[in-house]
Amino acid sequence: MQLKEKLLSSYMAFEETIDLENSIHDIRNDAIKFFEQSGFPTKKLEAWKYTSLNSILKEDYSIFPKKEDTIEYRDIKKYCVHDIDTYQIVFIDGIFASHLSQTTHDKLDACLMSSALNKPKYKPIIKKYFNKVAPKESLTALNTAFSYEGAYIKIPKGVAAEKPIQILNFSTGNEHALMIQPRNLIIVEDNAQVQIVERHQSLTENAVLTNSVTEIFVGKNADLDYYKIQNDKITSSLIDNTYISQERDSNASVHTFSFGGKLTRNNLNFYQNGSNINSTLKGVTIIEGKQHVDHNTLVHHKKPHCESHQDYKGIFAEKSTGVFNGKVLVDKIAQKTDAYQSNNNILIDDQATINSKPQLEIFADDVKCSHGCTIGQLDEEALFYMQSRGIPKKEARALLMYAFANNVLNSVKIPEIKNRITKQIALKIGVELGFDL
């Protein structure tokens, strides 16, 4: 049975387990209908020109995994940011694992989507925010139809979260192949602040397909700092859809670190609904083997005096493929926009490929918009210079690559994350840097 048919019939089974009276049921119904019409995206669509889902849709995924209780903290410790105090929302095979999590309702809400969807207390919030920024796209609609579990985070007005929140999704491989669809809703109210770390990790070599949707609302003068760490097994694929709606004077930044996974697609979308907004999108991609990472970004400037800054660096080895598809859209009234988009890539091996498509669509005249894209190699002269000063070639290459990625790391505000990423980069490049960064 094709995955699409399987999903459609699973939806009927899913309907039996949920509360049909719930107001979001209509949204789910609409979404499944939309998915039925549109199906999975193919390479014929401009946005999917360079990424084919064929290889990952072949698997016979199970949609409703059993609850798994045997996972202990020590199994997952190395995948968490454990050296600082954080809130943790942990899911095992898409199901909330209370014994591993640390949630809160004190001052701020860091808890579960399922309870937010079902408890009457949250009804007005769900009504106001749920599925409000996610557009009608087939994969997002598929997630909406099955939306049930995920992280629900709400930072009330004027509250600065005193510690970062981690959203961790693990898959155990109990099933031969598993498809999970986490649905996150994050609301940062006016003048609030939060830092969030998100990770998807498979614990075994069994196939996993994650189709995640995160809706984020950033209120006036609020501050969101989001880190996505993607370093999964070669059998796991991730389609991450993140939609961020920003109000005036707010800051939002998303750092995406893609170091592994069979196929990773990041759909990252920013919508600026007020003036004086700052949006930052940064990413480092270092992959090898036959891995495929696709960054598909959109920044929609709808109001005047806003800024956006995109900086994506990629290092591609062996037969890996990288895609960057960035779009900056400037509306007619969004005068004085300052948008910058940069995509730099290094190809290490002959069979590595990069497809880059940085796009600008501009309808306002008084703007400063630019983009740059480069593809090249490490500077031979710089390598020679270092070698002539006694630095072995391998280290010299690592240093240069580290320097290449460093721009992106500069803006990481959580030192522990910076350290972990630095180590990860060193590991990826295959060298001990010998200094702490």
């Binding site: 498509k357 501009i362 005249d365 740059g372 480069t374 090249g376």
Partner: protein, 481 residues
Amino acid sequence: MPYTEHELEQDLKNKEYEYGFYTDIESDTLPPGLNEDIVIAISKKKEEPDWMTAWRLEAYRHWKTMAEPNWANIGYEKPDYQNISYYSAPNKKPKYESLDEVDPELLDTFNKLGISLDEQKKLAGVAVDVVMDSVSVATTFKKTLAEKGIIFCSISEAIQNHPELVKKYIGSVVPPKDNFFAALNSAVFSDGSFCYIPKGVRCPMELSTYFRINQAGTGQFERTLVIAEESSYVSYLEGCTAPMRDENQLHAAVVELVALDNAEIKYSTVQNWFPGDKEGKGGVFNFVTKRGLCEKNAKISWTQVETGSAVTWKYPSCILKGDNSIGEFYSIALTNNFQQADTGTKMVHLGNNTKSTIISKGISAGRSQNSYRGLVKVSPRAKNARNFSQCDSLLMGNKCGAHTFPYIEVSNKNAQIEHEATTSKIGEDQIFYCNQRGIDTEKAIALIVNGFSKEVLNKLPMEFAVEAQKLLEISLEGSVG
């Protein structure tokens, strides 16, 4: 002595015969619509050999299976392909009797461009009372060219006289099945230019269709084929700066360039088709497929200045097949009022050490939409490929749009690719500075636009560059609010 229309006709007939241009005065316009019979009829009217008819038919059969592309960032009412007449005899009858009947706006433009009175008449379609100057000019040209062994004639004539060359090269760069408009063109192309430069010959003058078109009448479906043999050089000019009014709404031309080992082709275009009136009504649709093939050490350079057409859909491309080959693309696309342009280039790097440069300047004013769409592709076997792309857009007013869609596909680690794009407007301080020094705003804008376009204008042949510069000024007139 009064010079009658009939005499002119006779004169032209003789002249054209004398200089080898193909005319078919007897032929009528074919009925509108497109089917295999029409394709065969066109081929027959042109007395083409069987292989050509078969080639057209194959293209037509494939075209039938294709759908009109709609991925470009343009919106227009699709033409009804069954409602177009695909062949009409060249119009020998002058449209007007004297210059007084011609649209004064058009004449105004002519004067600004500094076009001579005789030429003005020719361009506007006024009966000309002197036998055309350019005919004699063309004759001298022809002589020089013939001495060098250069063939420069219409494609129909080439099919008759040099079938071996045409057969070998036609469709070799733009296959008939390449895309919707190329297939359509291959099936029904009416005429066009053919140019062949023999081995080791450096063409002594700029070849221009301008001279030829005066006689043959421009076709709706033009087909151009330029072949530069080993170590030869040619500079080819297409179009002219004067506004071209044309009743044909749809133009689907195909241009093929073949640069063999060590050859160099420089292809310059100035396009100024009727862009429609200020409300955006009418205007020409220009859907062109232009592509060049570079063999070893060869170089192809495209330069274009686009100011006309209601809708432009055009991507002059280079296939860098041979090692060390070079592709260049310099473009200015200016859109005003309701014009839409989706233009750019494709640089396909296949050989080792291939280089390409892309400089694209887009200027949008009024309510126009101007897009750059370009592809830089480095195949896995193309070592040391080098590309530099720069796309700058200038916006005037907040009702227009400027868009950039670069596609960069690299599969070789030795490639070095740079792309940058900027979008900006004319700074108020720049205008203020000019005003302060006694230059009025309109002139100041012309000055700044010229500066912005300089890099590309410099690549045009001298006379062309001067005209193109003026053309930019005129096209922007009244766009300053």
